[in-house]
């Protein structure tokens, strides 16, 4: 990924592509062929974007979505890393939990949302727990793969130098698994965003997903597109944040692709 960002020529190309896209949109909007309801002009989307960014009540909506997504993700990160490391290092835990995870992996967890609403209420809790459940799988799976792949010489050395099992887990296994853990995080974080927006679109009275549906229902397509832009920016920003964090914490391993198999 870093390749895509470092090269100045590629930045120029990217800006040019963006400009072409915007010009095409604006031309379509001004041509009069489409209703402004279907293709609102960029100026109108921009002014809505300005309104969104300056009005405290819309910032609160964004905060709701962000807090739900990050809350569910954080929960999944803690539980997922713990489970994944244990499954990677202990044959017993892997035998007990592995089949359950691999059988339920292809089942769309989103279908459980109605039950979650009944169990945990229509507020934030049902959404956070669904995000937790959806994010748990990629984190557990990648962490376990990493836990298994830890260089055994490192573990032997630590054991030989008198480290306890807990110490080995904390000081050797977890750091050695970190690249995989971050690979899992990078898959899970967009999922958290997807699920929070979906659940807010389906049933909510707040959050960005709700704002999208509400603007559409009140035929304010310029506002709807502005919210979509905000959601997109948050998604990209969170992804960048994980990559930054990874590059700081996992300095020794600068893999270009996160598709570590």
């Amino acid at each position: 990924m870093s390749v895509l960002w470092s090269d100045p020529a590629s930045v120029v190309r990217r800006v040019a592509l963006l400009a072409v896209g915007l010009v095409a949109w604006e031309t379509a909007a001004r041509s009069g062929w489409f209703s402004p309801l279907i293709v609102p002009s960029i100026a109108r989307i921009g002014s809505q974007l300005g309104l969104l960014a300056t009005r405290p009540e819309s910032l609160v909506e964004a905060w709701y979505s962000l807090a739900r997504a990050l809350g569910g993700f954080a929960l999944a990160a803690v539980v997922g890393v713990a489970l994944g490391v244990l499954m990677g290092r202990s044959a017993l835990v892997a035998a007990a939990l592995g089949p359950l995870f691999s059988w339920t992996y292809p089942i769309p967890k989103i279908a459980l949302f109605p039950i979650f609403i009944y169990l945990f209420g229509i507020g934030s809790l049902s959404k956070v727990l669904l995000i937790f459940l959806e994010c748990l799988y990629p984190i557990v799976i990648t962490t376990q793969a990493g836990g298994r792949a830890v260089n055994r010489v490192l573990v032997w050395s630590a054991a030989n130098m008198g480290a306890s099992r807990a110490r080995i887990l904390g000081s050797v296994v977890v750091p050695a698994t970190a690249p995989f853990i971050f690979a899992g995080f990078r898959i899970a974080l967009p999922i958290a965003m997807i699920v929070v927006i979906i659940t807010e679109m389906i049933s909510s009275a707040d959050g960005l997903g709700y704002m999208v549906m509400y603007s559409l229902a009140s035929f304010k397509t310029d506002r709807m597109l502005a919210v979509v832009v905000v959601i997109a920016l948050i998604g990209v920003a969170l992804d960048r944040l994980v990559v930054r964090l990874r590059d700081r914490l996992v300095r020794w391993d600068r893999l270009d692709s996160y598709y570590a198999e």
């Binding site: 592509l17 892997a94 939990l97 997903g209 559409l216 998604g235 198999e261």
Partner: protein, 257 residues
């Protein structure tokens, strides 16, 4: 993505025992005082059989599949095709990759309202959004798969007189296949997630609609039936894809799968 075949060999029986124990626990727990919306596994199984007999379920399954399958096929075909090409053609790479990687973390479901504005709220908008979501994992995996082709193999092919198109078909595509299947698997799972969300947001048929409708009319039996059907569809399609992968990638050794 790493393949989720995380169950160690020989652990199937232990896993099955765990599963049965959980179901038994659930069954016993429902003997005590519990709210209406929790059904016991035995009740759910009975309702599933009833719904299959009465024909309440199958039309919705059909309606859902008629949306998710075309979406998955269109999205993954375009994704794999463009991904493979972008992996070998530099100008295409420079044109497409920045856009794809930049928009990848954006939740695709937000495009549903936009697409609905443009093509109406019928099936086409749902298929389009599902296809869009399926495009990304396929493109990214096919792209890395094609780029990861060993240069020696490509050189050998060219050296032995293969044309560029032949090298692409006989060297690049096969060596990208494992990652292509990884992408297809992620896309398949995504297609169901998107299917349910789009059907829950607006539809007059399909399993997502059935869940939504039975939930709001307090028909919890039907709600569980629909959820079981969703789970079964997700699981069965994943198994089918794995079966195809085992056939197509028979040459790949079992450990690296």
């Amino acid at each position: 993505m790493a393949s989720p075949d995380i169950a160690p060999p020989g652990s199937r029986s232990i896993g099955l025992a765990m599963l049965l124990a959980m179901l038994a626990l659930w069954q016993i727990a429902t003997r005590f005082d519990h709210p209406d919306f929790i059904l016991s596994p035995a009740e759910i199984a009975r309702h599933v059989v009833e719904a299959l007999r009465s024909g309440e379920l199958l039309p919705h399954v059909g309606a859902s599949l008629a949306r998710s399958l075309p979406g998955f096929v269109i999205g993954s075909l375009i994704g794999v095709g463009l991904g493979l090409l972008a992996g070998v053609v530099r100008s295409l790479d420079q044109l497409l990759s920045p856009v794809v990687f930049l928009t990848y973390p954006v939740p695709k479901i937000v495009f549903l309202p936009i697409v609905m504005l443009w093509v109406g709220i019928g099936d086409v908008s749902k298929i389009a959004v599902i296809a869009l979501a399926c495009f990304y994992p396929c493109f990214i995996n096919a792209y890395y798969g094609a780029r990861g082709t060993s240069t020696i193999m490509v050189w050998s092919g060219l050296n032995m007189g293969a044309r560029r198109s032949q090298t692409f078909r006989k060297v690049v595509v096969p060596s990208a296949l494992p990652l292509v299947f990884a992408g297809l698997r992620v896309s398949l799972a995504l297609s169901f997630v998107l299917l349910f969300s789009t059907e829950m947001i607006n539809a007059r048929s399909g399993l997502g609609f059935l869940i939504r409708q039975s939930e709001s009319s307090l028909r919890f039996d039907l709600m569980y039936v629909a959820i079981v059907a969703v789970a079964a569809l997700g699981y069965a399609s994943d198994q089918m894809l794995l079966l195809v992968r085992r056939r197509v990638l028979a040459w790949q050794d079992a450990t690296s799968r």
